[in-house]
Symmetry: none
Subunit: 121 residues, 2 copies
């Protein structure tokens, strides 16, 4: 069972600390942008939004942070053909994404036992 989701941007720092991550300006800015977004922004849109708060935010950091959030079940991506993936907070409502999150959890679990998952065939 994953950790509880921060209810507001203000809770992020403690949440990050709990999972061994540091609270930095770019991360707070990215989180806020994602938190405030009404739709599902893509990485570039998030970078632009975050830069309005923390101008030094770079695209690489956006992608890195989003991936980390996803691995902790805090955010999820929706891949779109021929376009950048779109991101949202929390788990995806879609079954395939739910499966991916579940698989990721199993992968993490397996890792705790010294194993990793590889494609069957």
């Amino acid at each position: 069972m994953p950790e509880a989701l921060p209810a507001a941007p203000a809770d992020l720092p403690q949440w990050l600390a709990r999972v061994g991550m540091r609270a930095t300006p770019p991360r707070l800015a990215i989180w806020q942008a994602l938190h405030d977004a009404k739709d599902e922004p893509d990485a570039v849109e998030l970078m632009v939004l975050a830069q309005q708060v923390e101008p030094r935010t770079s695209l690489g950091t956006v992608y890195r942070f989003l991936r980390e959030l996803e691995q902790h079940g805090l955010a999820s991506s929706r891949p779109v053909a021929h376009q950048r993936s779109r991101w949202r907070l929390g788990a995806s409502t879609e079954s395939s994404a739910r499966n991916e999150a579940a698989l990721a959890a199993v992968a993490r679990l397996a890792a705790a036992f010294g194993y990793r998952l590889v494609p069957a065939a």
Copy 2:
């Protein structure tokens, strides 16, 4: 409403002709591979399968043909994060057999640790 879907590989040539496309060996091979596939192959898998019938089939042609099929509503792709898109004939259906199998496996794994799966939200 798009044109009717060919029931079998043999119907492809006339279908292609109807929409102004030519029936060629690579296309027939790709179609057959997609038609025979039980799961949702990606472009590379389709290329390998098609090459067993028509060795000259190239990846570029696979992608081109798949895109054309999709534009005519004959096939559809399911984009997957960090992986090649998966293709199938006809319109997309949400839950695939593979997803269900994955969930079942997760359920079994969870059960082994004394848990059971419940809907997220």
